[in-house]
């Protein structure tokens, strides 16, 4: 009886302790996709470090319809679109503090903003997409007006639409690349003196043959007008990576073409406007590979913003389910996490994503808050494995991947990373095992080719003997049979003669 009481007490204590332990480890819904496109659960690569609303930041009023986010060094710039201001937050001593609130400047006719929706900061200047004032502003750091980029006075630019610049980036020579609402010819490019320089990188126009035939020959004019036009689609957001290439994303596409690579929701543009995004992963860079319609969350991922980290990895923000998808520079999916909801680390209407080092910052316009994610131990290990690989330290990279594998046996890249390191150490057979587990046929082929070569070289004598036997033995047998047959015939013949 006493024993039973002790046992009961022990169970009660355990029950009281364990939920705390569980909640600490399990903070989100993180997963990855395996070779077959099925969800493979994973530990959290990112954990929430801070959620910043106007209360935490000590602002006088709530952020309203905030659209734009930018990070430069340890400063965060939030375009508080509805309140016509820009909030500058400084990150110092592990704290986020408001450093400055920009709501006016000097030197122009209209010295305030009207729905500013994006900001880009260079070393000396601010570039602000002042949407409702139909202009892009270039200001100095002490808020003196320098230049404005307005509606291009050019035959290529549709003059009938209102000029509403929404997102922008600036290159090293202060040239502005911006996205303008209802302009579908690509990214609008300005010279650094404010002249319009043309469009870059419109999406390729896709339509199927049936639609074309129907629209051209069968439908009446009225019907054809009502049908969707075969025109490029508009980009939703633009980001720049450390190599100076533009990442653009669009949410206007036909879901059915995602699986076969017919549409590319995320594109990486070079200066000619060609898509140079590397897609060597098992899956195209499309966000969720597999999805089920549940309630109001229907359809595929719609990537609304991208941020490209310094090591070539990039993260896309999905509007449909509020998820964040991470990819490495080869287009392999690293992680998926986040979601829609009211918990920390979940969103209601995420609009922008940025990074500060390896931390991710997500701006939620409806929750009026900024969520800061920081890599967990697991996430850090992935990043350091990628980093070591890029530095050419393959063995150390493999050690990091082994750590990752301890935490998550589902991680495809860990197997491939270890395999690649083993391949460089000439351990072909072990490398082949790692590649085989994750169906990596390219690397397996390379490893196997070397293994086969080595095997043949090691066993050349044995091979010669086998080949010799295969060739000689039938010859010898044939010869013996022939001799016997001739002897027999001779005997028969000699019998006949007698």
């Amino acid at each position: 009886m006493k024993r039973l009481a002790v046992l009961l007490a022990l169970i009660l204590v355990l029950a009281a302790v364990s939920p705390a332990a569980v909640t600490q480890a399990d903070t989100g819904y993180s997963y990855n996709y395996d070779f077959w496109g099925e969800v493979a659960n994973s530990p959290d690569p990112y954990a929430v470090k801070a959620t910043l609303t106007h209360i935490e930041l000590g602002l006088d009023k709530k952020l309203s319809k905030a659209q734009g986010l930018f990070v430069k060094d340890n400063f965060i710039y939030i375009c508080d679109t509805g309140n016509n201001r820009i909030v500058v937050i400084e990150f110092a001593d592990e704290e986020y503090k408001v450093a400055q609130i920009i709501d006016s400047f000097e030197g122009a006719e209209i010295n305030t903003f009207n729905s500013p929706s994006d900001i880009f900061v260079t070393d000396d200047h601010y570039f602000i997409a002042d949407t409702e004032n139909n202009r892009i502003l270039k200001l100095t750091k002490d808020l003196q007006f320098v230049l404005e980029f307005t509606k291009p006075d050019d035959i290529n630019f549709d003059q009938s639409i209102t000029f509403l610049p929404s997102k922008l980036i600036v290159d090293g020579a202060d040239r502005v690349f911006c996205l303008v609402k209802r302009v579908n010819k690509g990214v609008v490019k300005y010279e650094n003196d404010g002249h319009f320089n043309g469009f870059v990188g419109a999406t390729p126009v896709t339509y199927d043959l049936f639609d074309y035939i129907w629209k051209t020959w069968i439908a009446s004019d009225a019907q054809a007008d009502a049908m969707a036009d075969f025109v490029p689609t508009e980009y939703d957001n633009i980001a720049v990576d450390n190599e100076g290439f533009m990442y653009v994303c669009t949410t206007n596409f036909y879901e059915g073409s995602l699986g076969d690579g017919g549409v590319n929701p995320i594109r990486r543009l070079n200066s000619l406007g060609n898509d140079i995004l590397i897609q060597n992963g098992d899956w195209y860079v499309i966000g969720d590979v597999d999805w089920t319609d549940v309630g109001v969350y229907t359809g595929s991922s719609r990537i609304v913003d991208i941020t490209a980290l310094d090591d070539g990895t990039y993260f896309g923000l999905d509007r449909t389910r509020g998820r964040i998808f991470g990819y490495d520079d080869q287009g392999n999916i690293l992680c998926c996490f986040g979601g829609n909801g009211n918990k920390d680390g979940y969103f209601r209407m995420p609009t922008a994503i940025e990074h500060m080092g390896h931390d991710l910052l997500v701006l939620d316009s409806q929750d009026a808050q900024l969520t800061v994610f920081t890599p967990t131990y697991y996430g850090q290990k992935i990043f350091s494995a990628i980093y070591e690989y890029q530095q050419g330290r393959y063995d150390r990279s493999a050690d990091e991947w082994r750590e990752v594998l301890m935490l998550n046996g589902n991680n495809e890249l860990a197997y491939k990373g270890i395999g690649r390191a083993l391949l460089r150490q000439n351990k072909y057979e072990e490398a082949m095992n790692y590649f085989k587990i994750k169906y990596d046929d390219d690397n397996y082929g390379d490893a196997f080719q070397l293994y086969r070569k080595q095997w043949v070289e090691d066993h050349i004598v044995l091979l010669f003997i086998v080949i010799l036997l295969v060739l000689v033995v039938p010859l010898v047998i044939g010869r013996i049979k022939r001799v016997r047959w001739e002897v027999k015939r001779f005997e028969n013949d000699s019998k006949k003669i007698r």
Partner: protein, 226 residues
């Protein structure tokens, strides 16, 4: 008077039957390289046997599974959670049965000379190149790398094309048709197969509907009684 056990032992130790079986099986190797001559003698001179035909058919089904299971993963990637080897085998067996039955049904109207048994034997013999080529091909695939996959695909497709040509000559010889009539016959057979499959689906759909009807009736009665 022999006992059943004795008969059973006799059946499996009948030397003459084994000789006949192996001889007719060996004849398949002659048929695949001399199709016209071979298929003519196969049925008209009774040089083939049902046992050998069934052996080739079963071997082909096993080859299909063997290929999926033992080809290097570089060429064929199998999701073992989703693949059902029985269904893979049915993917060959059912079309084969439907082909033979439909072809026989049609050729009895198109004054073909072959019986159902003849068509079955000849069709099965026509499948000989498949196991003959694919089994070594599968084994060799394990010594190839991904860049050399063309060899694997080529030999697999080659065996299928070879089999298809043998099927045509088999139909031609078994029924003693001209080439034009053979083509027409095969065309009609394919249409006929579609009709048979449609009827089968309709049949099973109706059967399951009828079953559901009686089951619901039974349930109704049970609910009323209790």
């Amino acid at each position: 008077m022999k006992t059943t056990a004795r008969r059973f032992v006799d059946f499996f130790t009948n030397r003459a039957a084994y000789d006949r079986f192996f001889k007719s099986l060996r004849y398949a190797l002659y048929v695949i390289v001399h199709p016209f001559d071979g298929f003519w003698d196969l049925t008209h001179e009774k040089r083939g046997s049902l046992a050998a035909a069934n052996f080739i058919l079963i071997l082909s089904l096993l080859t299909c599974v063997f290929r999926i299971e033992f080809t290097t993963f570089q060429f064929i990637k199998v999701n073992y959670e989703r693949v059902n080897f029985f269904m893979e085998m049915m993917g060959i067996l059912l079309p084969f049965i439907i082909f033979v039955v439909t072809n026989w049904a049609l050729t009895t109207l198109f004054d073909g000379k072959g019986t159902l048994k003849d068509v079955w034997i000849a069709s099965a013999y026509a499948m000989t190149p498949y196991p003959l080529v694919v089994i070594p091909n599968t084994i060799i695939s394990n010594f190839l790398t991904e860049e050399e996959d063309t060899f694997n695909y080529f030999f697999h497709d080659f065996s299928i094309v070879w089999s298809a040509l043998l099927f045509i000559s088999a139909i031609m010889m078994v029924h003693a048709y001209s080439i034009g009539k053979t083509m027409l016959c095969i065309l009609f057979t394919i249409v006929g197969m579609a009709v048979v499959i449609f009827l089968l689906l309709l049949f099973f759909s109706l059967i399951s509907d009828a079953g559901a009807y009686f089951y619901s009736l039974y349930k109704e009665v049970i609910y009323r009684l209790y």
